[in-house]
């Protein structure tokens, strides 16, 4: 052959990235403050939108007068529902069932408002200051209706109805059962009945939401930029709402400043702002402020669950019965029923418990809509289950680790089919492989569990109440139904991955580049990734349910594998060599005879030259990964708490995680997810709470009211141990890791607080939050402000 490759490009080095703690290349931009978040996108010619929101929890709208607002300086337009005339079903809900009452969120309130913060009108002005000025001048004539904020009151016969046409505030029901759902206690069995209250929380990513909409391509298309975890779902919603062809709409999402589920939603503002841009034929941007965030971005968790557990005298759980009511707020979010379907499906976690009957209901109230928040229903499920384990151990005077061992599924019992579920994206619950007992043992060992009583005694001598809490969970991760990715070999010999997985902190840019480089055997520097553009990947799902690395990474790698096939097919044709004589090794084409090694960087020019044509713009492949079954990550968490009985302050000096998220793509990033998730979970049970007054007025409207965990809340002694059992349900054995930290922490801390307060004959039945005031009430002491 005429072509003789230089020695420097002979195959030699194999680049390996999967499983390594690769530092993130994206940090370079972020650390320089050039992260390119939505608010950083320059829009010099955009008008600014401001949403006028309901100040009433429940009221009829008798009229809206906007003349005064319209005359205010700098105001371009004012829109109400009547001006926009969008269909009532423009905002999607993905987990409705047959029989579900349709309470989808209205894009803008027409004749009735159902929560404080609901969009009622929109001002477009030259800048935000002027828009806010005018907003105060929009006159809305409300006729107040009685409001209901408590979900247990809302299911009473005399409760105000949010949707009178339905005659009830219960809009959705799910039932999960297994084994004998009519199980009863035998003589000698222990029966535990408890009511668990889970309080309302919210995600609070540091970045608020925002939307930019502008006409492009000579006004024939609209480009919507939004802070969304699911640009493709938004694309579908916009197509439906506007009756436009899919090709006329482009949705992109820039890097997100955190998501945690609250951006897994199609929001009214994401329809309203583009609708206004279409009407005005000019670019419009909307930037949420933190006050708006609290009153309009979805909340999470709130529910009440009655539990009945039957436990044999040996500590073996016979059955579990749940009846629960979730407070889903005033209307459906995108997946409003997933917290309860996930809880019902997964409440038994790693435990055998052969009999289950869980009935859960979604109840509408005059609050902000509820949606998934990091972990969906898994944190509530784990907290309830682990509290019951501890209560059973306490009643039976058993060791808390021992009772768990007696109930844990053994490796040889897996995989295990636990039946069908209404949880969107799961279908059937089929636990994959794992070793739950080994996970518990690893955590106990790392926690010095055997020596804990001496630790408690020495804390007690210092006047502090010390407790330890164990919690385990199995959670659904890496859900389907499918994902798409596209990989392109550029004419310059580098690779671009087009992905729908949104970068929002998890490091998905780096993970995906790692896996593509691994597959191709090339240096990572040669792989770029572009994310969140519906023009570049037309059909995709998005980023949620711990699927970014496991599903998004897998499909990226499989697309790279397709690219290799495509390259070899083309090379065979161009070089006139039989396809089976070519193979891909160490980042290039090798041939069993004739042709020497062709490195990837030379492929586009070499193949183009052979063809006697100019470069055709590269070689492309795409792949669709269908995810028939999600995978199931699991962990054991142990929290040690110390309570100061004088101040009521709870500290967590030590925290232990033993976890298995399958094959790890990047351990540095997985640890980051775990620590961040645990501290978020700690905040959610020690501090955070969304508070409404009885009239439905939101009280927590700022970070001064809704207190996030700070640097001092990090457990100073934080220990993590990893297990790495590949799952059969993922082509590369990966499970998800994004949510588990949060899931385990709520349960472990709740058990530790109960353990610390055992002397007070008191147990935690819910998620708190366990604020100093709460602790002092339990200790039956007045609140004392220590002198400074």
């Amino acid at each position: 052959m005429a072509d003789v490759a230089s020695p420097s490009v002979r195959p030699g080095r194999s680049y390996r990235y999967a499983g390594k703690p690769i530092r993130r290349a994206e940090d370079a931009d972020l650390l320089r403050g050039a992260g390119g978040f939505l608010a950083d996108i320059p829009t010099p010619d955009a008008a600014e939108a401001f949403i006028v929101r309901s100040t009433h929890a429940h009221a009829l709208i008798r009229g809206i007068r906007s003349e005064h607002a319209l005359k205010n300086p700098g105001v371009i337009a004012v829109f109400t529902a009547a001006d926009l005339d969008l269909a009532d079903d423009a905002l999607p809900c993905l987990d409705m069932l047959v029989g579900t009452l349709d309470v989808r969120h209205r894009v803008m309130a027409k004749d009735r408002v159902r929560y404080v913060g609901q969009p009622v009108a929109l001002i477009v002005a030259l800048n935000r200051y002027l828009a806010e000025d005018a907003a105060a001048l929009v006159e809305i004539d409300y006729e107040n209706l009685p409001a209901v904020t408590d979900h247990l009151q809302a299911i009473e016969g005399n409760a105000p109805l949010l949707y009178p046409e339905y005659g009830t505030n219960i809009v959705y029901e799910t039932r999960q059962h297994d084994g004998n759902s009519a199980f009863v206690a035998r003589e000698g069995d222990l029966v535990i009945r408890k009511r668990f209250e889970f309080h309302r929380q919210t995600a609070v990513p540091m970045e608020n939401r925002g939307v930019i909409a502008k006409l492009v391509d000579k006004g024939e298309r609209i480009h919507v930029e939004s802070t969304t975890q699911i640009p493709h779902t938004l694309h579908t919603a916009l197509t439906t709402a506007f009756g436009m062809d899919a090709s006329q709409i482009r949705v992109t999402a820039p890097r997100l400043g955190g998501g945690f589920g609250c951006k897994e939603m199609v929001y009214p503002e994401e329809i309203i702002v583009p609708a206004v841009a279409l009407k005005l034929k000019r670019p419009v941007r909307w930037s949420e402020d933190r006050r708006e965030y609290f009153g309009s971005a979805v909340h999470g968790r709130e529910e009440t669950v009655d539990a009945e557990a039957v436990v044999g005298p040996d500590g073996v759980f016979v059955g579990l019965r749940l009846t629960g009511w979730a407070n889903i707020g005033a209307a459906f979010g995108l997946v409003p029923n997933s917290p309860i379907t996930a809880m019902a499906a997964m409440v038994r976690g790693p435990y055998r418990i052969p009999n289950l009957d869980a009935r859960m209901f979604s109840v509408v109230t005059n609050k902000v809509p509820l949606n998934v928040l990091r972990g969906a229903g898994a944190p509530q499920a784990a907290l309830l289950m682990e509290r019951l384990m501890d209560e059973a151990a306490h009643a039976l005077r058993m060791d808390r680790a021992e009772i768990r061992r007696r109930n844990l599924l053994r490796p040889e019992e897996l995989p295990l089919d636990r039946g069908e579920t209404d949880f969107a994206g799961a279908g059937r619950i089929i636990y994959d492989e794992g070793d739950y007992p080994r996970c518990l043992s690893a955590a106990l060992k790392l926690a010095n569990y055997e020596d804990f009583e001496s630790e408690r005694a020495s804390a007690s001598q210092k006047g502090r109440l010390c407790g330890m809490g164990i919690a385990m969970y199995v959670e659904i991760t890496a859900v389907g139904p499918y994902e798409n990715a596209r990989v392109r070999l550029q004419p310059d010999g580098t690779i671009i991955l087009f992905s729908s997985i949104m970068p929002m902190g998890q490091g998905s840019e780096t993970v995906q580049r790692q896996l593509v480089a691994e597959e191709l055997g090339i240096p990572m520097e040669q792989v770029a990734v572009r994310q969140g553009d519906t023009d570049e990947v037309p059909d995709a799902i998005g980023t949620f349910a711990s699927r970014g690395a496991a599903v998004g990474g897998a499909v990226a790698r499989l697309a790279a594998r397709e690219l290799i096939k495509e390259i070899l097919n083309r090379a065979a044709a161009h070089l006139g060599i039989a396809r089976d004589e070519l193979s891909w090794e160490n980042g290039g084409i090798t041939c069993s005879r004739l042709e020497p090694f062709i490195p990837m960087a030379e492929i586009p020019t070499r193949l183009a030259a052979r063809n006697g044509k100019a470069n055709d713009g590269g070689i492309e492949a795409r792949f669709r990964l269908d995810v028939a079954h999600p995978s199931y990550a699991y962990a054991a968490h142990i929290a040690v708490v110390e309570i100061d009985p004088e101040t009521g302050r709870i500290e967590i000096p030590r925290y232990i995680v033993a976890h298995d998220c399958g094959k790890v793509a990047n351990p540095l990033l997985v640890e980051g997810q775990i620590v961040g998730g645990v501290v978020q979970g700690i905040g959610q049970v020690l501090r955070e709470k969304v508070v409404y007054d009885v009239n439905g007025l939101l009280q927590t409207r700022a970070l001064m009211d809704y207190v996030l965990p700070g640097a001092a809340d990090l457990p100073p002694d934080f220990r993590i141990t990893h297990m790495e059992t590949p799952t059969r349900f993922n082509p590369f054995g990966m499970r998800g890791a994004g949510e588990g930290g949060c899931t385990g922490a709520q349960a472990a801390v709740s058990n530790a607080v109960t353990d610390a307060l055992r002397g007070y004959d008191f147990s935690v039945e819910g998620s708190g939050p366990f604020t100093p005031t709460w602790v002092l009430e339990k200790l039956d002491k007045p609140l004392r402000i220590p002198a400074r």
């Binding site: 690769i22 530092r23 992260g35 990513p205 970045e207 608020n208 890097r255 933190r290 490091g507 640097a711």
Partner: protein, 182 residues
């Protein structure tokens, strides 16, 4: 070097009957003279008028620290100051301490320690670290968590942030050619 800047972000302020004040500040070593609406926030002035978008606005009330800049050597919340309040002062944002390209040693330590995830809180936090270093805060001092208590991070759980800050305060230099750089 003096640069007169029209501090009118979108078209509209000038034509309106909006009270304004002349403002002279030095931003990242550059003298800026501008006529600004009295009610314009400093964070908006820096981001919208000067294009210094590294600082982030998150809580809008001084609770989270994402908007932190350094004013006359002190870390300050730009979201709760009016631009006119910064008259005659020296302001430094992260654009002022960035190298021409690449990462400065503190930024490199943050990358090595995976001390950021979404990165939204990071630029503001780095401004406080900048002040801590210039004040000679010791790495094992109780002041470290005190300074950091002014910054909320929703992603990392703070562990890697504290590690990176302590190593920066200890004068640790980033590992040269450390492998595993993505």
């Amino acid at each position: 070097m003096s640069e007169a800047i029209s501090a009118i972000p979108n078209v509209a302020w000038a034509a309106l009957d909006e009270p304004t004040t002349e403002l002279r500040v030095v931003v990242n070593g550059k003298e800026v003279c501008a006529v600004v609406p009295d009610r314009l926030l400093l964070s908006d002035f820096l981001r919208d008028c000067l294009g210094l978008t590294a600082l982030k606005v998150s809580c809008g009330e001084g609770a989270c620290g994402a908007c932190t800049v350094v004013i006359n050597g002190e870390p300050a919340r730009s979201c709760t100051l009016l631009a006119v309040q910064s008259d005659e002062s020296q302001i430094v944002t992260i654009e002022g301490i960035n190298l021409a390209s690449g990462l400065n040693p503190v930024q490199q330590l943050f990358k090595e320690r995976h001390a950021l995830q979404c990165g939204y809180c990071t630029p503001g936090l780095l401004m406080t670290v900048h002040c801590m270093i210039s004040r000679g805060v010791q790495p094992d001092s109780d002041e470290v968590p005190q300074y950091m208590s002014g910054h909320l991070c929703r992603c990392t759980g703070y562990r890697n942030i504290l590690a990176a800050v302590r190593s920066a305060l200890g004068g640790e230099t980033p590992g040269p050619g450390r492998e595993n750089n993505g």
